[in-house]
Amino acid sequence: MTATPRISLFAQDTRTKRRNAAEARFRSYGLAAIVLALLALVWLLISIFSGGLPAFKQSFLTFPVTLEESVLDKGGKRDPAIMAKATTVTYAKVLAKALEAEVAAKGLETKLKTKDLTKMISEESPATLRDRVLADPSLIGQTIQVSVLASGRIDGYYKGRVTMESAAKDKNTSPEQLALADQLKAAGVLTMQFNSGFLTMPDASDKRPEAAGLGVAIIGSLYMMVVVLVLALPIGVAASVYLEEFAPKNRITDLIEVNIANLAAVPSIVYGILGLAIFINFAGLPQSAPIVGGLVLTLMTLPRIIIPTRAALKAVPPSIRDAALGVGASNLQTITHHVLPLAMPGILTGTIIGLAQALGETAPLLLIGMVAFVRDFPGAPPEGLFDPAAALPVQIYNWTQRGDPGFVERASGAIIVLLVFLIAMNAVAIYLRRKFERRW
């Protein structure tokens, strides 16, 4: 036998070199992919946050307003019916006059007339003040400090949407208004404050982006999530438990399982069409109601709950089942006392992720009519479930369709709110999974 030349361990032969090179290349591809993904994510986040964060700050005008009885309560007896006769137009004039007085009081020079000053205040503000007075008639006769929204254009000026040049061509504002606004800002009358109204106020019409809020959309989404949770979780868990523990292992069961897996992949808009046909046309439920949205989303979320639930049930080791059966527990006792509690973390995680997905679904809601403009808050459940409402993703879609550039910021802000909710729900899912996973 001829002796093969002895190769030192310290020297790499060509095959090894090629293998190592291929591995290094593969690792760099992977790294590049991750970097690319991260860049895309960062870009997305930056564009969203830069566009949306301004929505949380709003310009407010703060000045004293004298509520004269002679103007606001002609009857003098604080009769609501008579007081209601003072319309928003009246209140608008009151506000404008008060602002004028404040301008004079602060010694600011301007060429603007009262009519122009009206344009500086948001068209929403008279209604706000009117609601306030009608709710508390004792305010009449007093001078109260009022903080009202500045108009969309003024707000836009401070957010970079409106400039002196564009104001010259804009019929809703003028460079003089902007100049006065600067003066008011210097005098402390105009301030940029945190806009909690963004989260609490209902939607506003096209011309008033500064007054537009997510209040109705958040409530609508909340109601729908409650409906989905209350319906999808028990039905999904019961279906999974049946399929996993009780169903006989035959062709029919296999067929059901395959179909459930397929349902999870069906495009969500199909569920919208289904919802339209069954819930609105056939069952006659009101359009745009959270109940219908909730039902449609339940149908969509069911497969997405059943699949992780089944996986969680399968993951419970059979030794636990054997132990329970060996002690003399019935099938049902084994499941409820042992299997379900152990599978609960997986079930909860699946449910929360399913809910998070449902929260962001837009297509089915569009088809059932939730794209309408809804100003009134839906009532308390259960009746409130039948009132028309909006939903977060649909509201975003809606705002992007509007003309006023102020709505761009609103839409981005709404996206941020939606993202926060989604991240919060996913964080809860992760926390629950970690907390319960350690136990066995």
Partner: protein, 264 residues
Amino acid sequence: MKDQRLETRVDTQTIKISAQKAQVYYGTNHAIKDVDVEILDKTVTAFIGPSGCGKSTFLRCLNRMNDTIPSCRVEGKILLEGEDIYDARVDPVQLRARIGMVFQKPNPFPKSIYDNVAYGPKIHGLTRNKAELDEIVESCLRKAALWNEVKDRLAAPGTGLSGGQQQRLCIARAIATSPEVLLMDEPCSALDPIATAQVEELIDELRSQFSVVIVTHSMQQAARVSQRTAFFHLGNLVEFGETGQIFTNPQDPRTESYISGRIG
């Protein structure tokens, strides 16, 4: 000296479980063929045999655990004190309160030690109040030689114990329903030698109250622990007799080949 050894008095004990021409089929596979065996009261009976010979299968028939396997079918008679356990009127859940089982891998519930032992009596409604339940838990843990080690931490999770302790906890859990027969499927195969010896000593003590049937792949364990031994091979019961007799002078050549390590 003879009176120290109870095992030689087996002929005076009553029959607890009797299998007559028992057959087990998995689908078309005839896994257990024509088994006639008698488990006597207050005795430890060992089932030995090479892998796949059917000893575990047969053991699981004795408390109808094979019901959980859909393709499994049992024919012939298996009588517990004269009553056929496969009769249609028998509820397997009730049966399993009378015939307890301990498994190969210790499998305590992921609950507290107290709840582990208390689970059986609770679901079968064996106690009227908490005091009685406490008593049962303590006495079972004592019988399982575990009380002194855990009496200060009954609320601690059962899964936090060592392997040997977990298996003794499973034994305590199994005897909590006061079964008449205790089935053990290779209970020591996952334990170290000291824990194994402790469990074997425990089985010897439990013998005075229950019948024990133990499946083991260790012939030495069967020799140490049992008074009667049954040798299974390829689904047949080849030989069944008093343990000392089987290990010093077996009747069937197949038995001798197996126990002396001549066949697999």
